[in-house]
Symmetry: C2
Subunit: 316 residues, 2 copies
């Protein structure tokens, strides 16, 4: 049993896939549902201290969970933050900067820190980020409700976070003198969750939504699997991050980053035909369509259509 099979087994057997979405949806009152998410970030698995700063890390810990809230079309409300801290980071300066990074992003969305835990760690820094949001009853946008004939839209641009990771791996560190490269590094180290775009997508009539954390091909596969549909993506419509060229990445690898690079934290949205105009009028980019061919994902490029195999980048 490999890593993915074991996680799948645990999720299936022990109820973690009951909701099977970016967030669990729970009844709150007669107007609102509560959506909740938890994300564990582990040193050397999900981040490297020599690549980032305490403040970026605090920001990112919250951003990844806000992105899950956004993918439900919900509005974030409150959060908890649990940390296990090793001896060498057990310093006022590091912890203040970490919480400052968290709080600055939280302030943008009026998210209140209501609790959490602080523990020692024998060696590695571990963060668990918990965020709760609200959405009108029954209106949380799930993964499982895309329909054949729906259009596929995304927010923003793709591949930037993978470009930033590639630069970090090659030894580049912040701040970079090249402003394009600096932007790529920040896409990896200090991602921006698309909270307002997620709320707009819900009110504009999105049929399904997910955030692009594993990579477009993997996250689109999650939507297709949950909705029992297929998809076709047009390679030429992909809004590739223009900064990727600045780090000497050839054009074909840039497409690879856009298709499979994780951690862009953009939103992937499916839209019924009658609702498409609302999205094209705003800052969403149409990249393809949902098809009836369950679990078949195709990529159209240069007039040809080929199967698109999901291969999300492992983060490190």
């Amino acid at each position: 049993m490999n890593e993915f099979e074991l996680i799948h087994h645990i999720k299936e057997k022990h109820g973690l896939s009951r909701v099977g979405d970016d967030c669990a949806v729970l009844p709150k009152d007669d107007k609102l549902d509560l959506v909740v998410t938890a994300d564990m970030l582990v040193e050397e698995i999900d981040f490297r201290l020599e690549w980032t700063t305490a403040e970026h890390l605090g920001h990112k810990a919250l951003a990844v969970s806000l992105s899950d809230i956004a993918a439900m079309g919900a509005t974030p409300k409150w959060a908890m933050l649990s940390i296990a801290i090793p001896q060498d980071l057990w310093k006022k300066g590091f912890l203040d900067a970490f919480y400052d990074g968290w709080h600055k992003l939280a302030a943008q969305y009026n998210v209140e820190l209501v609790g959490g835990d602080i523990s020692r760690s024998p060696d590695k820094f571990v963060i668990d980020s918990i965020v709760a949001g609200e959405v009108p009853n029954g209106e949380a946008v799930l993964r499982s409700t895309a329909q054949p004939g729906d259009a596929i839209f995304i927010t923003g641009t793709l591949g930037g976070a993978a470009g930033g990771l590639s630069a970090l791996r090659a030894g580049t560190r912040q701040p970079s003198a090249n402003p394009h490269e600096e932007k790529l590094l920040l896409r990896q180290l200090r991602p921006s969750p698309r909270v307002h775009a997620g709320e707009s997508a819900r009110t504009l009539g999105a049929s399904a939504m997910i955030d692009i954390s594993d990579g477009l091909s993997s996250d689109l596969a999650h939507i297709c699997s949950a909705s029992r549909v297929g998809a076709i993506i047009d390679s030429e419509l992909l809004p590739i991050d223009p900064g990727i060229a600045s780090v000497d990445i050839p054009a074909d690898r840039a497409v690879d980053f856009a298709l499979h690079g994780g951690e862009d934290f953009e939103l992937l949205i499916t839209v019924p035909p009658k609702k498409i105009s609302g999205f094209t009028e705003r800052a969403f980019t149409r990249i393809g369509d949902i098809t009836p061919n369950a679990d078949v994902i195709e990529l159209r490029a240069a007039g040809k259509s080929l199967p698109l195999i999901p291969k999300g980048y492992r983060h490190f």
Copy 2:
């Protein structure tokens, strides 16, 4: 700045002490408040794998958070569980047993697992346990509302978890042929949260409540500090775990375990004079009284009254 001062600084500066109780209390609807808690358990800091089993660990991860819910007088409803797992525990058997331990306890209280995260860890096992409960609007029992003249009650017996820890440190492992010793080991490794007792204490009119996780002296100090009161405890009234004698602990050390031993997960409850009879009629033990002497805690023993200095046991 030592460890406690640093944690205090972080909590004060970064908003973690906003609520300053076992759980944060959030409005849910026009009948109920939501209470939420998070507890981080870290290998080698909070538990040792050579002392416990995967199933006990899953049980304990949930139990510590249920105990926080109980201390608010709330009813637990749903939970999330995030884990970071090292390579050598990344096995079906270990993870199944861990989740089974969690689910068996959850089933006792109809707690539903709604989410969480599973990550790799470079070496240590880290668990973040999140539990949410419900309590009628405005009825959560806080730490800050004890009054001079209130009686102090506790549930169950004290010192057993410290007795179990002492046996583990001395090399004893489960199962022990001595049934008293086995019980002590289980008090440390597989604690029982006092969920129903916490709900009863609320409906019977408790004025303040906390769970005994750091030790009676420390947790009583938390109540006194939050309520700006003092307390006097009668040493002869302490219900010391009868099993402690079975592990060759002398009587004076047994009192020490009862006063300062952590992780008993009993409830410490303050009760206004008019409500006392409701508690004495049930399985609560009166151990002392709240006094007007802010932050002065006294221990009465053999006719003398001495200051009781809080000294909660570090868990390891």
